[in-house]
Symmetry: C2
Subunit: 195 residues, 2 copies
Amino acid sequence: MPEPRRADARRNIERILAAALELYGSRPGVSMSDVAKAAGVGRVTLYAHFPSRADLGAAVAERAVAETVAALSGLGLDALPADEAVAAMLRGQWRIFERNEYLRGNIVADVEPERLRAGHDPLMEYLTALLARGRAEGVFRGDLPTGWLITAFYHLVHAAADEQRAGRLTPAEAVEALVATVLSVLRNSAVGQRD
Amino acid sequence: MPEPRRADARRNIERILAAALELYGSRPGVSMSDVAKAAGVGRVTLYAHFPSRADLGAAVAERAVAETVAALSGLGLDALPADEAVAAMLRGQWRIFERNEYLRGNIVADVEPERLRAGHDPLMEYLTALLARGRAEGVFRGDLPTGWLITAFYHLVHAAADEQRAGRLTPAEAVEALVATVLSVLRNSAVGQRD
């Protein structure tokens, strides 16, 4: 009976990923046992599907990226000028970015940086397209490589999440400081600034 | 004979810190045994002075910060307008910032973030004073908290070092992208931009 067994496996993988996403996104220091328990599967089943923390971490990151891109696509950013789209993205997705920051803390020591980076490709592509549109509209700068601007964007998101987590900025302050800072980085300084 | 023994201890601590700074700054994955060997001391001596990786890491970070501040003080930045001072700091100290990035990779998992942050106080104070001067000169923005701007500054330094280490930017490209980006973040957009 291979069919039901495959369906069981798919269901277990789903349960594990959903539990890991929830746990990794809510607190630091989550163990593989915590994930197995929350998913309602045994450790043997967990390790059968994800032989190492690196494998689980990479799969969770991939899932989080897919959810983030899906949520972004629902914001209707295409209708906005590129700089307003970036601001709306940060304001609208801040809770998801925050969750992803906790995820990152749980995953970053387990997964090689380049593998983690590759898992972010769909989000990178989304941002790359948005930056290209902003350049074409003359709103964003053209003097720095797109790859660098995206890296700077991510590091500033991490910075704002860190400041909020440490209690040095409230969530509202963190996201507004982030919006102002990211727009300063992206905008073409030759063009009048709208805010 | 307590005097010679104290002198020995001081010499051993010096040797350990010098070796750890050199090793931690040059490659990832340095072990306590690597440090003991490079310092020419036994593991017992190493652990007598630094009971844990966290203690050694915190001491190395403190030493690196002190060296960085001393080097910065030698650059004569006080004579420059604040924005030019920031650019000169980044260009002049890029090799030190780079080394500190490797250090960070070796230390960050061992030392609690808040302890590591506290170790950076002298550098934070230096940057805080420079930012305050830039605000007083009307060159730097006044609409965002200084603490946030300093955090953003550090995260952008990490970003540039990461990009360089991954081979996505040459050292020259990394530092120039960093200078342009940091100045975009710090500058008062109401003022004409010089560079």
